[in-house]
């Protein structure tokens, strides 16, 4: 018997056909949906929640919700965009709930602390010439996870997911000035944590 995770994904290459399959509750369509979109969405969930277990829960909840409510999808955006929004909202809901319980605004941070450990960095490559390798992406993931939750959420929403300042502030239920300050704090921490992956021109001539 064919395993659902071993199916030929090309049968649903066309998004319209995938959508029709999902509406028929076809098992292969559900499998294709997961295989096509889940990897990117897991990264989104992890970046926002900062906790692998919770990110997996977000992903699970979101995909079940999406499949169960596929008839409500009106097709005004792509399936990927629709799923992205579901995952974003699910993760934010959990984040807000957690913040109300445990996270303080003045969550400790120190721009000079928590750089990516040297032992994990490949010194054999030249930063200016290096494309974003898998290892480098993992270093960015790691640096994001090291950020305090409130700073990470601001950075992920604004700088990675591309929300406007207003949209990100609304999503986090804070004012725009607070969002901007958190964003700058996050960037400053990341400038330190990822220093080996960004160019470092000689500033003595400036």
């Amino acid at each position: 018997m064919e395993k659902p995770w071993d199916i030929d994904l090309t049968i649903y290459d066309d998004e319209g056909e995938l959508l029709a399959g999902l509406r028929r509750k076809d098992r292969m369509a559900c499998t294709c949906l997961l295989k096509r979109f889940a990897p990117r969405l897991l990264r989104l969930a992890l970046n926002l929640t900062g906790q692998p277990d919770e990110a997996e829960d977000v992903l699970q909840e979101s995909f079940i919700q999406a499949c169960a409510n596929i008839d409500a999808f009106e097709g005004r955006s792509s399936l990927g965009t629709w799923l992205h929004r579901i995952v974003l909202n699910t993760a934010l809901m959990r984040l807000r709930r957690r913040q109300k319980d445990t996270v303080r605004l003045e969550d400790d941070w120190d721009a000079s602390s928590n750089p990516v450990p040297d032992a994990l960095i490949d010194h054999t490559t030249e930063p200016a010439e290096t494309v974003l390798t898998l290892e480098m992406r993992e270093m960015v993931d790691r640096a994001l996870l090291e950020l305090p939750p409130l700073l990470r959420a601001a950075f992920v929403l604004r700088d990675i997911e591309g929300l406007s300042t207003r949209e990100a502030a609304i999503a986090l239920e804070i004012g725009e000035p607070a969002l901007k300050v958190r964003l700058h704090r996050a960037r400053l921490v990341l400038r330190t944590a990822l220093r080996r992956y960004i160019d470092t021109p000689d500033l003595s001539t400036t």
């Binding site: 659902p4 995770w5 028929r24 509750k25 076809d26 098992r27 559900c30 499998t31 997961l34 295989k35 889940a38 990897p39 990117r40 897991l42 990264r43 997996e56 992903l59 699970q60 995909f63 079940i64 499949c67 169960a68 303080r104 605004l105 003045e106 400790d108 941070w109 721009a111 000079s112 494309v131 974003l132 898998l134 480098m136 992406r137 960015v140 700088d159 990675i160 804070i174 004012g175 725009e176 000035p177 607070a178 901007k180 300050v181 958190r182 700058h184 704090r185 960037r187 400053l188 400038r191 330190t192 990822l194 220093r195 960004i198 160019d199 470092t200 021109p201 500033l203 003595s204 400036t206």
Partner: protein
């Protein structure tokens, strides 16, 4: 070797950002930080480089889901939302 500011740790920006929460909600505090970042050569370069790195991060291909997670999610989705398989 001349003593120059490091690219990643501009002391002025660090001071402006502070550690406490007091300046989080004021327009003036946010504006002062934004003004500094757009005027400071160190910060301008560092922020542009961070932005370039983030751009590459956004475009990077994602790793497949771990097998165990993929199978768990598939089992749940297929059992809860799909028709039973035929045969």
């Amino acid at each position: 070797m001349p003593d120059v500011p490091t690219l990643q740790t501009c002391p002025q920006l660090t001071a402006l950002l502070g550690v406490g929460a007091e300046n989080e909600s004021t327009d003036e505090g946010a504006q002062a930080i934004a003004d500094h970042v757009t005027a400071c050569a160190v910060c301008m370069v560092a922020e542009a480089q961070l932005a370039a790195l983030v751009d590459r991060y956004r475009l990077a291909e994602d790793s497949p889901l771990p097998n165990s997670l993929e199978r768990r999610l598939l089992d749940l989705m297929l059992n809860q939302t799909c028709k039973p398989s035929e045969g």
